[in-house]
């Protein structure tokens, strides 16, 4: 009995070992492909095309003019419904604004403060140390103003949509608003968007040509605005990206050099006993 099992399972031959390993890997691959197709066939999958972003890749960086245009799209369009409560006006220095410009940009927003010396609450212009002013005082007010739908906070939107494509998803969402195809019936207050899961979204198409007047004179096409705001939101979700990638590059180079030294040292030490 044991001999029999041994005959079947015990292979001394290297070729046989490799063959069986290849066999197992093939089985797993076939199995994985089959299972992935069976699960996704049921519903029409969202359309999210990959874009080329300067912040991808091992030395990725943010394009500052694009970030500034993205901030303009945010302040002129998105901010009518969406807040960004984890960002502060001081963070705008990453976009290349000077200290004076940041003070001026912050002061365009009004913020509730108080109590003052007389115990009164009052409004004042925002300072660089304030977080981005939200359009609604609370979620209830936001829902009430938007037919019961809550516009999500955009501070981390690219991170939370990572599975849908991150910045690619934002770009697709902005550009994939379409006429409702025949046979599709949407509820009142919903719009047809091919990038969104289920193709029905409560947000009305936010962008139209020239809705934003870019201060650098760039033509405000829907694609341009979508690209810029997607990059701006990617920065907002992950502001340390540039620093992270630059430090990471040097850390890994350093570790590789150290590894080469370690390999040489190990070989020298073990040469005496091998």
């Amino acid at each position: 009995m044991v001999e029999f099992i041994k005959k079947i399972f015990w292979v001394e031959n290297v070729t046989l070992k490799i063959t069986s390993a290849v066999f197992i890997v093939t089985c797993v691959t076939i199995f994985l492909t089959l299972s992935s197709t069976s699960s996704s066939a049921s519903e029409e999958s969202p359309v999210v095309k990959k874009q080329t972003w300067v912040f991808n890749g091992i030395l990725g960086y943010f394009n500052k003019p694009a970030l500034r245009r993205g901030y303009e799209v945010y302040t002129q369009v998105c901010t009518s419904c969406h807040g960004m409560k984890f960002l502060h006006y001081r963070d705008l220095k990453d976009l290349g604004y000077s200290r004076e410009q940041i003070v001026a940009l912050a002061a365009l927003n009004e913020i509730d403060d108080g109590p003052n010396d007389e115990g009164e609450y009052y409004k004042r212009p925002a300072l660089p140390s304030d977080s981005f002013v939200s359009p609604f005082p609370n979620d209830e007010a936001a829902r009430f103003a938007n037919n019961g739908a809550l516009p999500p906070d955009l501070s981390l939107i690219v991170a939370r949509k990572a599975a849908e494509g991150g910045a690619d998803f934002i770009y697709a969402l902005m550009t994939e608003y379409n006429e409702i195809p025949e046979g599709v019936i949407l509820q009142d207050g919903l719009y047809y968007n091919r990038a969104f899961k289920g193709q029905a979204i409560a947000m009305s198409p936010p962008l139209s040509k020239d809705i934003v007047a870019f201060s650098d004179g760039t033509e405000a096409t829907i694609e341009q605005m979508a690209l810029d705001v997607a990059q701006f939101l990617a920065w907002a979700s992950d502001p340390s990206l540039e620093q992270r990638k630059h430090i990471g590059f040097r850390v890994i180079i350093f570790l590789i050099v150290l590894l080469i030294v370690a390999i040489l040292y190990k070989r020298r030490v073990w040469a005496q006993v091998h």
């Binding site: 960002l87 430090i247 990471g248 190990k266 030490v269």
Partner: protein, 434 residues
């Protein structure tokens, strides 16, 4: 003047002889007067020298033996980064999420500390899982090393508790719902289940008291782990390391001093590991993270799929495979607890799978099964995944309870080498055949 390196045995002998002669029992061990002064009063330097410089290690250990050292370094990395993060974190349901955002955005190098810590958990588990599998393949759990193995399983359990409590702290959607799902498991305990759950919560739902106690436990447990690691290592240094052939050390020729031989090998392995770790930290910091955890915890909205971190997925698959809630929970905890009994389930005298022609295939199948279960754990709880998870669970427990004891009784091992040095030094020593 004696030689600075003193082996354990001669040290003890020396002590006994000095006692017999009724002399001062103070040993002079180092030429450097400061080192000697300390060591005469507290022999930490000679202990370190004995255990980390002279410590005889089997000369045939391979790179799988480096994962113990790697895991130790990971524990220290986690404790150090965690300590600094704890100084900036706020364990309150209203502030936890934003305090983590503050760490990521405003604290100097906070993003670096957090990504090292967050991904460090995954790397720690990776190192420990490889370390455990090394122990299984080369039979490191067998006599006389059973206690080392049992202490190791205790470390694994403590690590799981630490990782789980830590995952709850950022108070994102996955944090909150993971806490809810896992604490609710205890409601399956008959009669007192509900009481246990509200005891764990400190209330009637996962709320501020829960978050607060999880933070306290997450801070405490790593130091408990450190203590058990010290025992694990102390027990190892009593029996000495196992080796890929699984045969006992028979002579001095079988071993090499820990330094520089093993230290040079471990540093190399550690650097390779560090490069992979750095690549994740700097280039894919959220690769292992669930995107839903970027949404603040919301008790009113349940995520579509509640998925634990990858290192829990095989056990999660076992939980979901068993239709009865109580049995499912027992399966989940039993999946880890069964490791405690491995030294007593395996009756084979041969340690290494190199000389166990049948068992090794079942062990490899076990690895594939665990990886398969892990994949299933990340899938939705629907057919055909449930059926597959049941088959996987059957093999998981069947392996420990049937295959391990039976194979060890019936298997005929291949001939073992006479000693560790025999195959290693075969070519060099052949002429001197007696």
């Amino acid at each position: 003047m004696r030689e600075p390196c003193v082996s354990a045995k001669s040290n003890r002998l020396q002590k006994i002889t000095t006692m017999e002669k009724n002399e001062q029992p103070i040993r002079k061990t180092f030429q450097n007067s400061i080192l000697a002064w300390i060591d005469e009063r507290l022999p930490i330097i000679s202990i370190m020298q004995r255990e980390y410089i002279n410590y005889p290690t089997p000369r045939n250990v391979n790179y799988f033996w480096s994962f113990g050292a790697i895991a130790t370094v990971m524990l220290l990395v986690m404790i150090t980064t965690g300590l600094v993060l704890a100084m900036q974190y706020t364990s309150h349901t209203a502030m936890a999420f934003s305090s983590v955002q503050r760490i990521m955005r405003d604290v100097n190098y906070g993003w670096l500390l957090r990504t090292i810590h967050m991904n460090g958990a995954s790397m720690f588990f990776l190192a420990v899982y490889i370390h455990i599998y090394r122990g299984m393949y080369y039979g490191s759990y067998k006599k006389p090393r059973e206690l080392i193995w049992i202490l190791g399983v205790m470390i694994l359990l403590l690590m799981m508790a630490t990782a789980f409590t830590g995952y709850v702290l950022p108070w994102g959607q996955m944090s909150y719902w993971a806490a809810t799902v896992i604490t609710n498991l205890f409601s399956a305990v008959p009669l007192i289940g509900e009481h246990i759950v509200s005891f764990l919560w400190g209330g009637f739902s996962v709320d501020n008291p829960t978050l607060n106690r999880f933070f306290v436990l997450h801070f405490l447990l790593p130091f408990v782990i450190l203590g058990v690691v010290l025992l694990h290592v102390a027990a190892l240094h009593v029996t000495g390391s196992n080796n890929p052939d699984g045969v006992d050390v028979k002579s001095k020729r079988d071993t090499l001093p820990f330094h520089p031989y093993i230290t040079s090998k471990d540093s190399l392995a550690m650097l390779v590991f560090a490069i992979i770790y750095a690549a994740i930290v700097f280039y894919a910091p959220n690769f292992l993270n669930h995107p839903d955890n970027a949404i603040p915890a919301n008790p009113l909205s349940t995520p579509e799929h509640i998925v634990p971190e990858w290192y829990f997925l095989p056990f999660y698959a076992v939980l979901r495979a068993i239709p009865n809630k109580l049995l499912g929970v027992l399966g989940l905890f039993g999946g880890v607890a069964i490791l405690f009994f491995l030294p007593f389930l395996d009756r084979s005298k041969v340690r290494s799978c190199r000389y166990r022609p049948i068992y090794r295939w079942f062990l490899w199948a076990f690895v594939i099964d665990v990886v398969f279960l892990g994949w299933l754990g990340g899938r939705p709880a629907e057919e055909p995944y449930i059926l597959w998870a049941r088959l996987g669970t059957l093999y998981y427990f069947g392996f420990f309870l049937l295959l391990v004891p039976l194979v060890s009784l019936f298997e005929r091992p291949s001939p073992l080498p006479a000693s560790i040095s025999e195959p290693v030094l075969k070519t060099a020593d052949r002429p001197r055949v007696s």
